[in-house]
């Protein structure tokens, strides 16, 4: 059970946070174990929250965001893993739309995280695991963050700290929870004036820091070959402005949302080390964010070096 890199069903906020979910899992690679994962994610919305007001906007019509996310997890030690991921993102509007805007595409942020297992011990009828991760993400292409809703990311460095707790019963049922804080820097727009509840005479935009919460209930079945989980993901920016009436969003916005979803993962018996996964997520509540529905499919491959 400790053997496979998992993509939690949770976050599909920015793709940075998507990858950030891996650091929020309680799974560890053993020393000298390597796991590759490749996930395709497809998200879309036709409604978004302008501040707290949920609206349609035919200028955008339906926004689709497709991502391909390659990741790798490396067991540096049994209780210390290195995680690296680099999403490729593509966004576009459905046709017809009233805006006729180009979508955007490109590699987004390189994400690196270290995950450390603080504790993993038998407690009553199950095992309690406590983990902590520190992650860092940084844009590797010159994509424009100030091009919402098409921009492919926040365009800024992000440092994350997460604490993870999981309790798994000997019969395979488990609960887990994660709380994290995302420290974001500033992103550079291509204009030197913008309005953020007042004038700003600079190209730099402050991307709000955020709290992140994740909770899941799941079970391992079929001799630990199949995992099923339902989960919640929440993101709460700690500051920022609201999207103004019928106006474009911008990186300074106070983004918040709650999302629920489910994920299944299956490890093939015939091919050692190979696993497949699928998930579905729905944003149910938000602020300055799209009401995303998304699904993902992917594969993982694990081996020893």
């Amino acid at each position: 059970m400790k053997r496979i890199l998992l993509l939690s069903a949770g976050a599909l906020f920015s793709v940075g946070a998507l990858f950030g979910q891996t650091p929020s899992d309680a799974i560890m690679m053993k020393q000298k174990e390597l796991c590759f994962a490749l996930v395709y994610d497809h998200g879309s919305w036709d409604q978004y929250w302008e501040g707290t007001y949920l609206r349609y906007n035919q200028t955008v019509a339906t926004l689709t965001r497709k991502m391909v996310i390659p990741m790798v997890a490396i067991g540096i030690m049994d209780n210390l893993n290195l995680l690296v991921g680099l999403p490729y993102v593509k966004t576009e509007s459905s046709e017809p739309n009233g805006g006729k805007f180009q979508g955007a595409r490109g590699f987004q942020d390189l994400n690196i995280a270290l995950k450390y297992e603080i504790l993993n011990k038998q407690l009553g009828k199950g095992k309690l695991a406590l983990l902590a991760t520190g992650g860092f993400g940084t844009p590797i292409t010159n994509y424009l963050s100030d091009y919402r809703p098409y921009s492919i990311g926040n365009g800024t460095n992000e440092f994350s700290l997460r604490g993870i707790a999981q309790y798994i019963l000997d019969n395979g049922f488990y609960v887990k929870g994660t709380a994290g804080h995302l420290f974001r820097g500033q992103t550079k727009a291509e204009r030197d004036y913008y309005y953020n509840n007042g004038s700003y005479y600079t190209a730099w935009m402050d991307v709000p820091d955020a709290w992140e919460f994740n909770a899941g209930i799941g079970v391992w079945l079929l001799d630990n070959k199949l995992k099923l989980e339902t989960c919640y993901y929440g993101l709460k920016s700690t500051s920022g402005d609201d999207v103004r009436a019928y106006n474009a969003a911008q990186p300074t916005n106070k983004v918040q949302f709650d999302q629920v979803g489910a994920i299944g993962q299956y490890y093939l018996k015939k091919v050692k080390g190979l696993g497949v996964l699928a998930y579905y997520n729905q944003v149910v509540n938000g602020r300055n964010w799209g009401k995303f529905s998304s699904f993902g499919v992917g594969g993982t491959y694990q081996f020893k070096i």
Binding site: R191, Y193, N247
Partner: protein, 514 residues
């Protein structure tokens, strides 16, 4: 293993510092403080005003002599105020500086950005227009789009200029010295100079700004009142004006604002956003004349373009709008048109980072201070760089904004006379990186505003001429890169902006300031 943990913790901590260290305070206003003026323009009272018939059309009383008990009481009151300033008062003095037009211009730009929001559709697919009679909306009044923004800036700047010519006239007629010259013990907050202090030029600016902007942005009346009140008081706190200086300056400001607002109320702007039947007839006339017409492609379709009759608004210095109307654009299907269309497709298909940067840098779209606002920001930087006094500052903004408003009027005349379609209407499947505006394509507003602005700034700051003209060209090009204008929109628009600005600059050359 422990070492590893420590190492990773250090690494993590370093990363965090890296992220947070760049979160310095971001600038929300021009970074300058009170400065010594490069000249005093003692003859400024002889300059020709824009709207006033003369610099003594507005009259103020002869001030009390500096030896009078009345004046000495004011001086004592000023000294007592200055002796007990609190932190807020000191910050106010520092904020307003001795060239407060720059601050009021920034306030205007901020209000433009705040109100530059296009009304969205109602649930039933109709659109509601902002209504000055019910400014609360929704949508709130005004929609501070570029034609509306440049107009607000023009009236603000003209009121400043005429008000300060009047102030200069009386300053050098009465020659009442500044408080710090009457009493050596007064240590004024700003650089001392020999400009007489009655009437207060700061008070002219405060009162006229408040009154003009309160009409342009009626929902901001209370905010503007509080700003002006603080500004007026800060003139005494800073030790540069006694109360009677302020009262006289405030009177001039209020009177000159009335004159400017009287022109504004009858300049034709009220009718610019015409009803659909009028808009349809304008479109039909263009189609009959040329065989093409611009259509709004938004969803739901906007029934009327932006201010179809803005081209009929009263111009400042161009006698008739027809005399600066450009020649007709190339007909769709012509060789020149085809070459232009191909260029647009090529640019979008092979977008470079440089072109994207230029498109975004000059976009000044919805939610921002608009292209005229951008040129005001450029002027602010030059005015600080060249340490201009308030009178010269007012003159710069007045001609800059009048030229850009005339440019806008001329541009809108061409837009609705030719009613030329946008690239997204003509090129199947064409997509853009900038938002296509709700008005016809030919000529480009950015190009006209920018060229007109650059010509005035070239006249006032000759050393910057090649720089600002280069920026105007870049601003014009930016619309091609954005995918929302044909090259001929931009190039003809640039020429049009220069043509219009020539009228303004010719007038400026004769106002006595050279």
């Amino acid at each position: 293993m422990k070492k590893n943990i420590i190492a990773s913790c250090i690494c993590a901590f370093t990363c965090m510092l890296f992220v947070t260290s760049c979160e310095d305070e971001l600038p929300t206003m021009a970074n300058y403080s009170a400065y010594a003026f490069s000249g005093l323009d003692a003859n400024g009272g002889s300059w020709t005003p824009i709207l006033l018939s003369s610099s003594d059309q507005i009259t103020i009383a002869t001030p009390a002599d500096v030896t009078s008990s009345e004046y000495l009481a004011e001086l004592a009151s000023l000294k007592s105020d200055m002796a007990s300033l609190n932190g807020d008062q000191r910050r106010a003095i520092e904020y307003w500086t001795n060239n407060p037009i720059l601050r009021w211009n920034e306030i205007a730009l901020e209000l433009i950005a705040k109100y530059n929001l296009i009304p969205g559709p109602n649930d039933d697919g109709t659109y509601t227009l902002p209504n000055p009679a019910a400014p609360d909306g929704p949508p709130p009044f005004p929609f501070a789009h570029p034609p509306s923004a440049v107009r607000a800036l023009a009236y603000l700047s003209v009121a400043h200029f005429d008000g300060l010519i009047t102030a200069w006239h009386y300053k050098y007629t009465f020659n009442r010295p500044a408080p710090y010259q009457v009493d050596n013990s007064i240590n004024s907050a700003y650089k001392q100079n020999d400009i007489p202090s009655y009437p207060s030029d700061g008070a002219v600016v405060a009162a006229s700004s408040r009154d003009i902007l309160s009409v342009m942005f009626p929902l901001e009346k209370e905010y503007l009142k509080a700003k002006a009140e603080q500004h007026l008081q800060s003139l005494v706190w800073a030790g540069i004006n006694v109360d009677s200086d302020v009262v006289a300056g405030k009177f001039i400001g209020e009177e000159v604002a009335k004159v400017a607002l009287a022109r504004a109320s009858n300049d034709g702007m009220k009718k610019a956003q015409c009803p659909k039947p009028v808009s349809d007839s304008i479109k039909a006339a263009a189609f009959n004349r040329f065989g093409w017409q611009w259509d709004n492609l938004e969803l739901p379709t906007r029934p009327v373009g932006l201010t179809p009759l803005y081209g009929k608004v009263k111009m400042w210095y161009v006698p008739t709008v027809e005399e600066v109307r450009p020649i007709a654009p190339p007909a769709p299907g012509s060789d020149e048109y085809n070459a232009n269309a191909k260029e647009l497709v090529d640019i979008q298909d092979h977008m470079t980072e440089e072109k994207r940067r230029i498109a975004n840098y000059w976009q000044d779209g919805l939610g921002t201070y608009t292209p005229p606002g951008h040129w005001n920001k450029i002027a602010i930087d030059f005015l600080i760089k060249y340490k201009e006094n308030p009178l010269r500052t007012a003159r710069t903004f007045a001609y800059l904004n009048m030229a850009m408003m005339d440019g806008g009027i001329s541009c809108w005349d061409a837009k609705y006379y030719y009613h030329y379609p946008r690239p997204i209407q003509q090129i199947p499947g064409f997509k853009t990186i900038a938002g296509t505006p709700n008005f016809p394509s030919y000529t480009s507003g950015h190009s006209v505003f920018s060229a007109a602005g650059a010509e005035v700034l070239s006249y006032i700051f000759p050393a910057e001429a090649s720089t600002v003209r280069g920026w105007a060209i870049e601003a014009a090009e930016s619309r091609i890169y954005g995918g929302i204008h044909w090259r001929f929109d931009a190039e003809v628009g640039t020429t049009q902006g220069k043509d219009v600005a020539k009228y303004t600059v010719d007038r400026a050359k004769l106002d006595g300031a050279n």
